[in-house]
């Protein structure tokens, strides 16, 4: 592994942009294109937002973990919450599926992560939490 970092932050919505900025700063070492950077920023935002609004159901006093790793031109992110967990992961990942339609959620978060990253893996245990792992090859790399 070439590089690694991990941060933990409170499940406050202010920290969604904080997590995006950290992710961008980390991946900037690989000299990504503007488009690759935007993809990662958006995917990380989806996972962190899900941890806050679904995992912790809006409680602002829980911890979200974000870990990032770099191996050659491949960067991966792990976003973890110790929240309520997902009952049916397969169904949750279907486009337009949401358990929060009345809160104007569109059910597109996982679809965005899947389309903007190369790999996506979701692990979840009811009552224990959710971990989202996603990775992307940065093609416009200096190295």
């Amino acid at each position: 592994m070439d590089n690694q970092m991990e941060i933990k932050f409170l499940s406050k919505s202010e920290n969604e942009s904080f997590a995006r900025i950290v992710a961008c700063a980390f991946v900037s070492q690989l000299d990504p294109t503007t488009e690759e950077m935007a993809d990662i920023k958006t995917a990380v935002s989806e996972a962190v937002t899900n941890a806050i609004i679904h995992g912790y159901e809006g409680r602002p006093d829980c911890m979200v973990t974000m870990r990032a790793e770099m191996e050659g031109d491949y960067v991966s992110f792990l976003i973890h919450d110790s929240g309520k967990g997902i009952e049916n992961i397969e169904r949750a990942m279907e486009p337009l599926f949401t358990t929060c339609a009345e809160e104007e959620r569109s059910g597109m978060g996982f679809t965005v992560m899947e389309s903007f990253m190369d790999d996506l893996e979701v692990e979840s245990t009811l009552g224990a939490g959710t971990t989202v792992k996603m990775g992307k090859r940065i093609l416009h790399t200096k190295r």
């Binding site: 202010e14 969604e16 995006r20 958006t42 104007e104 569109s106 679809t111 965005v112």
Partner: protein
């Protein structure tokens, strides 16, 4: 995030500057709904010329406003979105409901 709006030809034009995510969505929603319910506007233009970031929370905001506006027979147009915002608009399927315009002037012509 900064939000500005003005009325033109029965149309509410909303300019969102900065980032539209879950954190900023509530304020955007509130401002637009207040204007839509109290003002004369029937149509809605989102001017995204200064929008630097949007995720699926923004999609939710747009779809929500689309429902209100189309229920009263109005149209929604999204103007001046940058490339990354446009990609998420495409992915979400929202462009089947709303139109996009390259400039604010073209957006007004579509209303």
């Amino acid at each position: 995030m900064q939000i500005e709006y003005n009325h033109q030809k029965k149309c509410l034009i909303v300019t969102i500057e900065g980032e539209l995510d879950h954190h900023t969505a509530a304020a955007v929603r509130e401002t637009i709904d207040k204007e839509l319910f109290s003002g004369p506007a029937k149509n809605l233009i989102f001017d995204f010329g200064h929008l630097t970031f949007m995720d699926s929370s923004g999609i939710g905001v747009i779809i929500g406003r689309y429902k209100t506006v189309s229920a009263q027979g109005g149209k929604v147009v999204i103007a001046c979105a940058n490339q990354s915002v446009e990609r998420i608009l495409h992915l979400s399927g929202i462009l089947k409901l709303t139109k996009v315009a390259r400039t604010r002037g073209l957006a007004l012509e579509m209303i």
